[in-house]
Subunit: 286 residues, 2 copies
């Protein structure tokens, strides 16, 4: 089946109906485009697991808290479609905002406490926007499995929560973060970094690795862990640490004492670009 | 197929999977039990339209704003199952609260402005609870068509809104209110009325009919319409009008001037029992 590009929900459903009736497993990779090797990893995993692979490309205005961030978000549709085609994607869904939100969306999905901390604390309404658009997309595509990057760990936790709480019949698979050789997590936003910012950017991951080392070494006090991690960031006026938190991997609530597995998550401004990253680590039982 | 009663989501999905694969149309009637002829009307309509009919019976704690109201809500499971059986229902889903909310439900569906007025104004969180449980039930059953009574007009508006905004692949059908001979809308709560309260109860519908007469006669000022309707209520200490509003049928926002079709909705306390009712009416163009 050659790649098919559809722009409407009706065409999407029409294209998927015969597959669903034939019992073909449908894998789904929702994206905001500007596809990179991290997305390729999601697509490849879906390709291995499923009979058909659907990718959506939609820069969701509802999840942007700042209009300038929405305006600056990279858009590379022609290259995205090429990558989808070369990776064996069967169907690409590229709706516009009018198709996704025909009326002002009045009914939304409220993710609750899992969105309170970390990115949720600094990006008002962001995860409500994510939860709403993901619910919509899952209802449009009705996939058997949907794939999300572990790089956006809080987003993944929000989506696992909403799928469980709203009983959406889909399996959610998290796929490990893909990194550059120097450790920088792949992100569509990386193209916005100038060469000097790009050189600085891996320090976020280095700081998180420091935290992971401490946790694995038996450190239990989250404040001490956070301080040790933050101390690894170079002093540079282009860098501004937004948050660095030690949280429970499921609830994304900050832990008061590390025990068992945690996620250390951080957001770092590098010039005008905001990068996020996280590591999952476990305190070994004494 | 004889009637089947299931208590878990897993058993429900297992039971429905072969039907779905065979392309049988599934009709769904979600209820809180205490079934009466209004529910029978929903079931009969589903029976006419669909290959298989599923009824759910679940008194949803999330949509009760007052614990005493939840405790007092009538429960008549044995009779409910008998009625389902006699009306040709194929499957009854009777989950308990643990099955519906295995963890504290943290992720909820926020219906937005459609829930701001009328019942939404007086029952804090009610429609969020309704929207959340209906989304869950629709995702569990995945019906082709779901049936709701027009008696709960704001609930129906909330459900139409969430199905549209979240792209849930189901058709929503509203079924006209069934009434006693004296006009009282059938409701599971009617059994709570003592004989004297029962005698008073039809005055809510009489007041709404007065409002409809005014609208159809050309009245355009909602305040004048509301006053004329309220004046039809007898003076009795057992009666307390909670609200009486003239609203847009889709958005459930109060209109500032009647033009075209409106819903006049009201809630009336009769002793300790809260009754709601509504009429849909149209101002004829001059």
């Amino acid at each position: 089946m050659p790649i098919v590009v559809v722009e409407t929900v009706a065409a999407l459903r029409l294209g998927l109906e015969p597959l669903r009736r034939a019992g073909v497993t449908i894998g789904f990779v929702p994206t905001m485009g500007a596809l990179h090797d991290g997305h390729a990893g999601l697509i490849d995993r879906a390709r291995r697991d499923c009979g058909r692979v659907v990718v959506s490309i939609f820069v969701n205005p509802l999840q942007f808290d700042r209009p300038d961030d929405l305006a600056r978000y990279p858009r590379t549709l022609a290259r995205d479609l090429e990558m989808c085609s070369s990776r064996g994607v069967d169907l690409v869904f590229v709706p516009d905002a009018g198709e996704m939100y025909p009326s002002k969306a009045v009914c939304t999905v409220d993710p609750g406490p899992v969105a309170e901390h970390c990115c949720g604390r600094y990006r008002t309404g962001h995860f409500r926007g994510v939860a709403t658009v993901v619910t919509k997309l899952l209802n449009m595509v009705q996939p058997d499995v949907a794939y999300f990057g572990e790089k956006d760990a809080q987003q993944l936790a929000v989506i696992r929560r909403l799928v469980a709480d709203l009983n959406i019949p889909v399996a959610i698979v998290g796929v490990p973060t893909v990194r550059e050789e120097d450790g920088l997590a792949l992100s569509s936003r990386n193209v916005k970094l100038d060469p000097e910012e790009r050189r600085l950017a891996p320090c976020l991951y280095a700081a998180l690795q420091e935290a992971a080392l401490r946790v694995e070494g038996g450190a239990a006090d989250p404040d001490a862990i956070r301080q040790a991690a933050a101390a690894r960031l170079p002093r540079d006026e282009r860098l501004r640490l937004e948050y660095l938190e030690v949280v429970d991997p499921e609830s994304f609530q900050p832990v008061t004492r590390v025990a068992g597995e945690v996620i250390v998550a951080g957001a770092l401004w590098v010039g005008r670009t905001r990068l996020i990253d996280n590591v999952r680590c476990r305190q070994l039982a004494e």
